[in-house]
């Protein structure tokens, strides 16, 4: 175990009493509770964290936050392995296991660093230029090669063993960011009693106050922070949510956030989620997300040991880590000098200070003298030296003299970019603020205000002032009276003078703009030279800003360099729009529990548990889980289905058909309404009878079919197919509410109110007699085919009996209130015992409907017309109905349009496959020779051969012809005979028995 040799003797917001053991690249280390993986590794002297994307250059920790472009690691192992996690945001836990990425065979010795030598081939646009031809080479040769050489971490490729949750929250004011601006906003708003949520992606609230030694009201800022957190915690309507990243702002004040509930432990405790995806509905929001520091582009600016100056402060003050022993500070503004004083305060040697400005405050000169650092005003760092670790920098002073300064840490300060991402998620473009030398939020989405550094108001005093003011303003806007304003806390003095330097010219070696995607200043030059000058082109041509960090440290610098090359102002060039998410979000957090079988709601028919008792096999069909068949011990699928089919055809069977849509339609215009939505007529349908109907969409294609029964003069019950139940209800409501609101009609779905069972087969009436109350005459004479009546069963239980048939047998459908479904099924089984009644499932149902040529879901595929399906003659010419005119279009009435016919295997044992396409025998199986396609197939135990339904050009005129059914996807090619779509009992005699 390595000692924490670079841990400062004291200080930091870490718990030194709680040591944690963790592993990086197989080696064991120790850190403390309160560390990040980055701070713990730095404390152990680890500088090399990974290899870069294209050139495999050694990379170390560059930042201390979510903007980190370099220190990306694979966290955890096995099924929990998570690639591209930022070591700077991973909260250390006992047993943490991480690996560096994109190196082979090892991090220190990477053979593919040779890419650096071959780098001319990898410049901007190389994908577009180099790998254009031949096309086939791309997939087979180029892409695998590039992917092996250039890449990020590996996905786990195993099912995620953890749970994720979705949660919803509503508040008056959402405060995004728990730094000084956010905390003071939450306090000012929360004191009014309004409902406040404050989110911060960090595991500790405080923002910059955690990283800097500052004073508030003449006391250490930490005191103000502690008191503020105590007061916020005491306010019952204020909810503090650390570890929660607000990643997106959506329409109407809806925010997306991810709470990392258990990312800071190895394995979530039982029954707890790893992460929780929040949707937060906020009346108002205050963006107090702070700012991200900018690098400077100079050769070797990516070497491990080059770090943002603000990050250096964080590692010292928050984590008690010595990020280097010999430090050079390279700054273009006053802010870098804060790092100088913090380094000195921690007892770290500052070797040199390079301030690019030729004029600086005498106080800074005095500070340089006091810490014993050599000061270069008007100087720059021209390049860096060292291998895996910074050894020295070349400083060029104002007189162009070069000095080699040995050092192991270079702190770079070039001003800050407001973290304005959320302000632009609704399409608002950031605008350049010349005074702040930064992009600031432009037009804001309604309800959003921006406080502190996120609005380029960078001083601590401004952050506190903005927060307090906006907190009160926001609650006032929603009608809550804010408490009286209090004096804004005072702070120690702070100056923010800045003259940014975007890039240093003159040195040799690669100078990186985008560290994560290995985009250099030369790539930006190339893009400019080749005419890719607009911001959006620059981005796509060079891939600048397109890494997992989305250019948090690189976008603005890339723009600034392009502006310089073009001789334009940054303000003229504009910026790209940020889109959600602000940082990467795991799909699991968005899916929550909705995965696997919970991907969508599971609906069970009323008799589901009865089917389970019988040992049924089930099939998922849309939202429904339905009984597929009821196998007997030792019986295979085909035998089971055949037995069930033959039992129905020769005796009697029962099947739960409750999943069919049932829509109750009442009113004095109910009949007229049906006239308008169905292609066929309804006026002649007597009370007590059912009729088969077909409805079209307005574009002339078939929407659905089903039987509708007239239970009373002004009362109809429509049935729809299972799959289209919702769609048909929506359509009927549209027709009524939008098209014909003056019709007196009431439409309501009763699908779930009724359990419905099909009783089919020659003995079905005999079985029914055992359950129907005796006062109801169900004889053939009194209750003929297509009769439909309200009756009672089992001694006055209300029921509806329909003599309709999907199987082609004498058959009934009997509906009872849903809660009676199982009782009805058991009663039918008992009544049918003497007749060997057989439960049958969806598969047998399907075989029988195909034997009868009844169309189903695969025939209603949205591309078929009534004519294609053989319902052409049903279309009334005496009335208007939905879809009437569009169905008459020329292309939909072409005589050679594929029409429904039947098919049977020429060799009766050759299975058929739905989806096969028809080609004439002797012709090539190519699209030009396509004659139609097969939609439903079944093995018919009655015909003892494979049969199918499908659509064939001029189908009805080709009966008897032999044709090929070709299925290249499944490698099937079967010769079939074209035949009538009604294979069984073509006269329909069995229906009327």
């Amino acid at each position: 175990m390595s000692a924490q040799s670079l841990r400062l003797a004291g200080g930091g917001l870490i718990d030194r009493a709680q040591a944690l053991t963790f592993r990086f690249d197989g080696k064991s280390y120790e850190g403390y509770a309160g560390d990040t993986l980055a701070s713990a590794l730095l404390a152990n002297g680890v500088r090399l964290f990974g290899r870069s994307f294209k050139y495999h250059r050694p990379r170390g920790v560059f930042s201390a936050g979510p903007e980190e472009p370099n220190a990306l690691v694979e966290l955890r192992s096995g099924a929990r392995r998570e690639p591209n996690t930022r070591a700077t945001t991973i909260e250390l836990f006992e047993g943490l296991d991480a690996k560096s990425q994109n190196r082979w065979p090892s991090l220190a010795f990477d053979l593919q660093a040779i890419n650096g030598l071959a780098s001319p081939a990898l410049v901007a646009g190389f994908y577009y230029k180099t790998f254009m031809w031949p096309v086939a080479f791309w997939e087979k040769l180029y892409e695998p090669l590039i992917r092996r050489a250039a890449g990020l971490g590996r996905a786990a490729r195993l099912e995620d063993p953890d749970h994720y949750e979705k949660a919803f929250a509503f508040c008056d004011v959402l405060v995004i960011g728990g730094g000084p601006a956010g905390l003071s906003a939450a306090l000012a708003a929360g004191r009014s009693g309004a409902r406040i949520i404050l989110c911060d992606e960090d595991f500790r609230l405080g923002g910059r106050l955690l990283s800097e030694k500052r004073e508030i009201n003449g006391r250490p800022a930490a005191d103000w922070l502690a008191a503020t957190l105590v007061e916020l915690a005491s306010l019952s309507e204020v909810r503090l949510m650390p570890r929660t990243c607000v990643f997106g702002l959506y329409d109407h004040g809806i925010f997306g956030a991810v709470e990392r509930v258990n990312d800071h432990v190895a394995v979530p405790p039982a029954h707890q989620p790893r992460q929780r995806g929040w949707r937060i509905y906020a009346k108002r929001a205050i963006l107090a997300s702070g700012a991200l520091e900018r690098p400077i582009v100079f050769p070797g600016n990516d070497r491990p040991g080059v770090m943002l100056a603000g990050a250096v402060r964080t590692y010292i003050n928050r984590f008690g880590v010595l990020p280097g022993r010999d430090v050079v500070v390279f700054t273009t503004g006053d802010n870098g000098w804060d790092t100088v004083s913090e380094l000195a305060a921690a007892g770290i040697r500052v070797a040199s200070i390079v301030d690019s400005r030729s004029e600086i405050d005498p106080a800074f000169k005095a500070l340089a003298e006091r810490v014993g650092a050599r000061l270069f005003t008007g100087g720059i760092v021209e390049s860096t030296r060292g291998g895996h670790q910074l050894r020295s920098v070349i400083v060029r002073d104002a007189s162009n003299t070069r000095s080699l300064v040995p050092c192991d840490l270079l702190a770079v300060a070039n001003g800050w970019n407001p973290t304005l991402h959320l302000a632009s998620h609704q399409g608002g473009r950031a605008v350049w603020n010349e005074a702040a030398q930064a992009f600031v939020p432009g037009a804001l989405p309604s309800g959003l205000a921006v406080a502190g550094s996120a609005a380029a108001r960078f001083t601590l005093a401004d952050a506190l002032r903005d927060g307090a003011r906006l907190g009160r303003e926001m609650v006032a806007e929603i009608g809550v009276t804010p408490t009286a304003a209090e004096a804004v806390p005072s702070t120690d003095t702070e100056t923010i003078g800045l003259k940014p330097v975007w890039r240093v010219k003159g040195g040799t070696g690669k100078a990186f703009v985008d560290f994560q995607n290995d985009v250099t200043d030369k790539d930006v030059e190339l893009a400019a030279r080749e005419g890719f000058r607009s911001v959006e082109h620059l981005k796509r041509y060079t891939t600048l800003g397109m890494g997992t960090d989305q250019g948090k440290t690189s976008n603005v610098i890339g723009l600034a360099i392009m502006a310089e090359l073009e001789g334009r102002e940054i303000s003229d060039l504009g910026t790209t729009i940020f889109r959600p998410p602000y940082t990467p979000v795991a799909i699991g957090a968005l899916a929550g529990h909705h995965r696997g079988k919970n991907f969508r709601p599971m609906r069970l028919p009323p008799t589901h548990h009865w089917s389970c008792e019988l040992g049924a096999d089930f099939v998922v069909s849309g939202q429904w889980t339905r009984a597929k068949c009821y196998p007997k011990p030792g019986e295979d699928l085909l035998r089971t289905i055949n037995r069930e089919v033959l039992a129905v055809r020769n005796g009697v069977g029962v099947c739960d058909v409750s999943t069919l849509g049932k829509i109750d339609i009442r009113g004095s215009d109910a009949c007229e309404f049906l006239e308008r939505v169905y292609i066929n007529g309804w006026k002649t349908l007597p009370v007590g009878r059912a009729r088969f109907g077909v409805m079209l969409r307005e574009d002339g294609f078939v929407m659905d079919d089903g039987t509708t029964s007239r239970l009373d003069e002004n009362h109809f019950l429509m049935t729809t197919s299972t799959a289209n139940a919702g769609k048909v209800l929506q359509h009927l409501n549209f027709c009524h509410q939008v098209l014909w609101p003056n019709l007196e009609v009431h439409i309501v779905s009763v699908s779930e109110q009724w359990a419905q069972v099909a009783i089919a087969g020659p003995r079905s009436r005999d079985v029914l007699r055992g359950v129907v109350d005796t006062e109801h005459d169900i004889s053939n004479e009194n209750f003929p085919y297509l009769a439909a009546r309200e009756i009672t069963v089992g001694g006055s239980i209300p029921a509806r009996l329909f003599r309709i048939s999907f199987s082609g047998e004498l058959a009934y459908e009997l509906a009872v209130p849903a809660d009676y479904g199982v009782a009805l099924m058991r009663a039918l089984m008992e009544a049918g015992e003497h007749f060997s009644i057989t439960p049958y499932g969806l598969d047998a149902l399907d075989v029988m409907r195909i034997e009868k040529g009844h169309v189903g879901g695969t025939e209603f595929n949205g591309q078929t017309t009534a004519r294609d399906l053989g319902f052409g003659k049903m279309m009334s010419s005496k009335k208007d109905f939905v879809g009437r005119l569009m169905a008459k279009r020329e292309a939909l009435t072409q005589p050679d349009r594929p029409c429904l016919v039947g098919f049977r295997s020429v060799n009766s044992m050759s299975p058929l496959t739905a989806g096969a396409h028809f080609v004439c025998v002797g012709q090539l199986a190519v699209m030009e020779n396509d004659e139609g396609y097969m939609t439903s197939v079944a093995y018919s135990p009655n015909l003892e051969c494979w049969i199918a339904l499908g659509f064939l050009k001029n189908g009805p005129t080709r009966l008897g012809e032999h044709i090929r059914a070709v299925d290249p996807l499944r490698n099937h090619d079967v010769e079939v005979e074209v035949c009538s779509s009604v294979f069984f009992d073509p006269e329909g005699a069995r229906l009327h028995g």
């Binding site: 929506q730 549209f734 609101p741 003056n742």
Partner: protein, 91 residues
């Protein structure tokens, strides 16, 4: 987005189904021509700004609503049941 259903209150957009421009009128009756019907079924302006459109509250009250939405900002300035509109124009 959220839509304020006149029957159910402010509800998340996931509860609703969208059905486009609410202005075209169906050419009803046996005298309607194929050309006019074709326009009704297929032709829509791609509006830039205020747009009156149909939304169906599928997960709740089953009402078809007319929503006035700005297609540039998604700001919604009115929502009413389509039945009210029809009654209004015909009475």
């Amino acid at each position: 987005m959220r839509i304020a259903c006149p029957y159910c209150g402010l509800r998340d957009v996931q509860e609703f189904a969208y059905a486009g421009d609410s202005c075209p009128q169906r050419p009803d009756g046996p005298d309607a021509t194929e050309g006019v019907m074709f326009e009704y079924v297929y032709l829509r302006d791609n509006s830039h700004g205020i747009h009156e459109e149909f939304w169906y509250h599928a997960a709740a009250c089953n009402a078809w609503l007319v929503v006035r939405r700005n297609t540039l900002t998604h700001a919604i300035d009115s929502v009413f049941p389509v039945k009210d509109r029809k009654a209004g124009t015909e009475s």
